[in-house]
Amino acid sequence: MYGKKHLTPWLYLLPALVFYTVFLAYPVFGSMGMSLQKWNGLGPMTFVGLANFRRLFFQTPFDQRFYNALRNNVEFFFLTMLLQNGAALFLAVLLSQKIRFSGVFRTVFFAPFIISVLMVGYIWRLILNPVWGVLNRFLGIIHLSFMARPWLGDPAWALPVIAFVNAWQFIGMPIIMFLAGIEAIPEELYEAARIDGCNEWSMFQRVTLPLLVPVIGVVSILTLAGNFTSFSIIYAMEGTQAGPYYSTDVLGTLFYRTAFSSLSGAPPEMGLGAAIATVMFVIIALSTLGWFWVDMRRRSA
């Protein structure tokens, strides 16, 4: 009887534990293990040690593609911080004022979140299309046609435009998080600042912003994790080759091309792909841990 009682909770836990371990927890480490193998996705696997990482970091042409993707990814992150999170903070401050229809605005700003990333890419691809798209047509109508360009075909503009579209879709999330943070700030602090003669701007600078640092940190980490695994938006807008001239290639697209597509002529290289995934994992994990460390020190100080 005692033995049976002892087992009961494990019987309830077992199905979830098995699923979670086999299809999520183990594969993360399995992928890291595969970064030490050479495998084309079909035949046998051979152990090659750190050769995949050596090729990725030091051997042309792999290193060119890798550093290019890494650089683009960092740029994508900073563009998102500015276009998405900066704008979100601004909108959240506006929404936190006593205004009418605040709930409706929130619901609308969040709405693009529910559309598949791929489809968002296609919608904007039509809008930005140099022949069919409404953006260049509109610029023509307001006599700004000198600004019109093939947005997605211009290496200087492609990545910023994709970062904008990505921000368009996901801005609702940071808005809601910033709003929750702002609403948690005690009203007395603003009262005190007002008595001290602060105007709106200095109240934002001296009260809102410092107290939002934890939220800004969480939003930044989430953005980083999202950006460093991004794939679908670039696939939809620029294809697997992440054109023009790899100017929108990030680690996610490089990973997919390396591991799963033989479009570039070479056979798929699962091991090399796994090495890229491992680099992505390390970047995300280190930034997250780094933030926790900073946050803990800040709290104890």
Binding site: A111, I114, I115, G172, Y235, G252, A259
Partner: protein, 275 residues
């Protein structure tokens, strides 16, 4: 007073600008689906002067759109059922029994909220190839079930801990075993937590493109986003048809959002903050 007025106008101006920026592309999506290819050129901005259903006809005649739709419904429903069933069982085990390793198991499962599944994909590919489930809808369901478990366990366990323990104990005194206590006493009470978990998981599963792209090859097994990507690749310049497909694919999440946006946003942000 005047300055306040100007400030108010500017404030609403910015908010309305953002509203327009969000809604106009969606308006373009719907209107384009009702235009002809010529209509996209001749009146690009507004509602079509002549409504055409040609795009909708094309979607169904050119590809297996109905099959994609069915596959999406199947995968989403099956994944949700598995996530919820497994998570309720696990949450019950974690919150109603004290045993050695309880906390460890809980944190082990919760750690999954931080894992981006894309980093596991190479190994999953190898696994599904080996167990013969590559190019099979089951592969999508199994991965999605595993991905959904951490957050659902987190939500349902949290809800459990707010229910009085005496409920189950009373049932067991009345001769119920723990299984019947779960089924007849707790399950009806857990409905709000189950709904939160389901709301959280529905949209990402419905919209997923990446996992089907890796694991599905046959046309008749494609889900909506993958099917639409194929369609786009083949008939890229048939914009009305592409946008008819997009409009139809957005309907289920849109209906869902119109009714449940508040709960959805709440669940999502709580997952993000606590994850």
């Amino acid at each position: 007073m005047f300055a306040r007025r100007v400030g108010k106008v500017l404030l609403y101006g910015v908010l309305l600008w953002q509203t327009g920026l969000v809604l106009y592309p969606l308006f373009i999506m719907v209107t384009t689906s009702f235009k002809t290819s010529f209509g996209i050129i001749s009146d690009p901005f507004g509602w079509p002067r002549k409504v055409s259903f040609r795009g909708y006809g094309d979607v169904f005649s050119l590809v297996n759109f109905a099959v994609y739709y069915r596959n999406s419904i199947l995968v989403t429903a099956a994944s949700l059922i598995m996530i919820l069933a497994l998570s309720v069982l696990a949450a019950y085990g974690l919150s109603r029994f004290s045993f050695k390793g309880n906390r460890t198991v809980y944190f082990y499962i919760l750690a999954g909220m931080m894992i981006p599944v894309r980093l596991a994909i190479v190994s999953l590919f190898h696994l599904f190839l080996n167990i013969g489930l590559f190019n099979n809808l089951l592969s999508l369901i199994l991965i999605r079930a595993a991905m959904g478990i951490p957050f659902s366990v987190f939500i349902i366990t949290g809800f459990f801990s707010e229910l009085p323990k005496e409920l189950g104990e009373a049932a067991e005194i009345d001769g119920c075993n723990s299984w019947r206590a779960l089924l007849y006493v707790y399950l009806p009470l857990l409905r709000p937590a189950i709904a939160t978990a389901a709301i959280f998981d529905f949209i990402p599963i419905w919209n997923d493109f990446y996992i089907p792209l890796i694991f599905i090859r046959s046309d008749h097994l494609k889900t909506l986003p993958l099917g639409i990507a194929t369609f786009y690749g083949q008939f890229q310049t048939n914009w009305p048809a592409v946008f008819a497909a997009l409009t139809m694919a957005v309907i289920p999440p849109l209906v869902f959002y119109v009714f449940l946006s508040r709960q959805f946003i709440k669940g999502l942000t709580s997952g993000a903050v606590k994850g």
